[in-house]
């Protein structure tokens, strides 16, 4: 297969997240009684969903053509996520301006967020202005709910999306091994 971007620049992942999973580890250091109290509190008052949480959900999604995460390819970064009330706005940067896989990357992020976020959130996904030759076309397709719904009924496409999402729950904590 001809790769759209055969030699992508790989970036160092940002510090791994200190949320949820990691906090649980801290709790284990406390004495047992306190541990239970803390856990109860956490269940009663769920942590509000913020930009960091959304970033953690999508940073480890694999790129469709490289064994690297979207974060490692600098396709997404925490600063490109904005939450305004119940709208999550994700901006991403395709590795090359002619990247034909941009819609697939966007679709993978959308599926991940649809599955993970409470359904009160509306999700807007757009490429960074100026970062793609067909910016409007990509944005339009990614935010057309009917097209997205139809795409999600396409089993071949879903299979590719699932492959990209298979690493998504690493939340930035594990570096994906590269080929050989």
């Amino acid at each position: 297969m001809q790769l759209d971007n055969a030699n992508p620049i790989v970036f160092q992942s940002a510090q791994e997240s200190f949320r949820l999973g990691n906090r649980d580890q801290f709790i284990l250091w406390e004495d047992e009684d306190k541990d239970y109290v803390l856990r109860d509190t956490m269940e009663d008052e769920p942590e509000p969903i913020d930009e960091q949480e959304v970033f953690d959900l999508i940073r480890s999604i694999s790129d469709p053509e490289h064994p690297l995460s979207l974060e490692q390819l600098a396709v997404i970064s925490a600063s490109q996520i904005k939450i305004l009330q119940n709208t999550v706005h994700v901006e991403f940067t395709p590795t090359v301006p002619h990247c034909g896989l941009s819609t697939l990357i966007g679709l993978s992020m959308r599926v991940r967020l649809l599955r993970s976020l409470p359904n009160r959130f509306k999700i807007d996904i757009k490429v960074k202005p100026g970062s793609h030759n067909s910016e409007n076309a990509v944005n339009k397709q990614l935010n057309d709910k009917e097209r997205v719904a139809a795409a999600l009924e396409n089993s071949a496409l879903i299979e590719v999306v699932e492959r990209c999402l298979s690493t998504a729950n690493r939340r930035g904590s594990v570096v994906i091994e590269s080929n050989e």
């Binding site: 119940n86 509306k122 009917e146 719904a149 139809a150 009924e153």
Partner: protein, 359 residues
């Protein structure tokens, strides 16, 4: 307001039967639900039938024939199905609640997801549209049973001996997906709304084929839906550009012109559906428009005036019509005396019924 859960997935659209107290809804769960209702105030709804359909993907659109005796479904599986009562009782005597519906024909022709289907005002024609950028016009050769023809490169071939629908034309005048088709309430004029941001209007050339008489430019993003005014002199369109527009027909010697005379900007997310009903504001009113979309808001306007000089008076605005979910469709009840009843369909798997009450 009443909420009806029956579907197990996103509900895309609802359609009121023009002659019987029946409401149909279609869903990503591949089924069509039929609800019967009472002519009381407020009407009481109950589930009449569930048609499991033979569609293999989302049923995106549902439409009744003007007689009420046939139902068309359009699916992402690219097919259209036609449903009729399975028993040979006279339509007038038949009890709406107990009709069993059987598939009398499948119209195959579109290459990709079919997104909308609509019957012409006299019921003789059916239009469908798809992501394949085409509008198909089908002619039904009515009763007792149909024979279906499919146009191919080798001419028309017989597909299903039970139902007859002949394709009169394949219209390729949009550059992108076509989201919705809507027939004029009295004449054979068809409107189509597209992902290419435009609206096309088509008429039949008696000596030739169907052809586009106008391409309307104005919306700056996908046009999701079109609804004609009951008088037929106007229609309204809704779009991803967050506007609802009202267009007027201007008769000229060389043919008709269509002008945008109103732009309503009240929604915050894409406007998936718009419906223009008779309303209940007396004879000086051009009817009521309701719109809804990704923001879940339903807005109702009374349209007053004459010619291009019209006024839009906001009658009602309702937030979160389907909770936190998107609302995909609104449609006015067609039954006389119930023009203030509205059905909506949402991503929350429900169909909801609303009554607009003057305060």
């Amino acid at each position: 307001m009443r909420s009806h859960v029956g579907h197990t997935d996103v509900v895309w659209q609802t359609a009121w039967n023009p002659t019987k107290p029946l409401l149909a809804s279609c869903s990503a769960d591949k089924t069509v639900q039929l609800y019967s209702y009472t002519f009381t105030s407020p009407p009481l709804f109950s589930v009449a039938t569930n048609i499991s359909t033979d569609h293999t993907r989302t049923v995106r659109s549902v439409a009744w024939a003007p007689s009420g005796k046939a139902l068309a479904t359009a699916s992402f599986d690219s097919n259209i199905s036609i449903w009729e009562p399975s028993r040979d009782e006279s339509w007038e005597d038949i009890d709406a609640e107990h009709i069993e519906w059987e598939c009398v024909g499948t119209l195959e022709g579109h290459e990709t997801e079919c997104k909308s289907v609509a019957y012409s005002s006299d019921g003789t024609l059916l239009a469908s549209c798809s992501r394949d950028k085409t509008v198909w016009i089908w002619e039904g050769v009515s009763t007792p049973k149909f024979i279906l023809f499919i146009p191919t490169s080798k001419g028309k071939i017989l597909v299903q001996p039970d139902a007859e629908f002949e394709c009169l034309g394949v219209l390729m005048h949009h550059t992108q997906d076509i989201k919705h088709v809507a027939w004029h309430p009295k004449e054979q004029i068809l409107a189509s709304a597209s992902y290419d941001d435009t609206i096309n209007l088509y008429v039949d050339d008696p000596d030739d084929d169907w052809y586009p008489v106008a391409k309307l430019i104005g919306h700056t993003s996908t046009v999701w839906c079109i609804s004609w005014s009951p008088c037929g002199n106007y229609f309204t369109s809704s779009s991803d550009d967050l506007t609802v527009r009202i267009w007027i027909r201007v008769k000229e010697t060389r043919g008709d012109r269509w002008d945008c005379i109103k732009i309503l900007k009240e929604h915050e997310r894409p406007i998936y559906s718009v419906t223009w009903g008779k309303g209940q504001s007396g004879k000086d009113s051009l009817g009521w428009i309701a719109s809804t979309g990704g923001d879940g808001k339903i807005i109702v306007w009374n349209i007053m005036g004459k010619g291009a000089d019209i006024e839009t008076i906001k009658l009602a605005s309702l937030e979160a019509s389907h909770g936190v979910s998107d609302t995909n469709s609104v449609s006015w009840c067609l039954h006389e005396g119930m023009e203030n009843i509205l059905a909506s369909a949402g991503d929350d798997h429900t169909v909801r019924i609303w009554e607009v009450i003057p305060v």
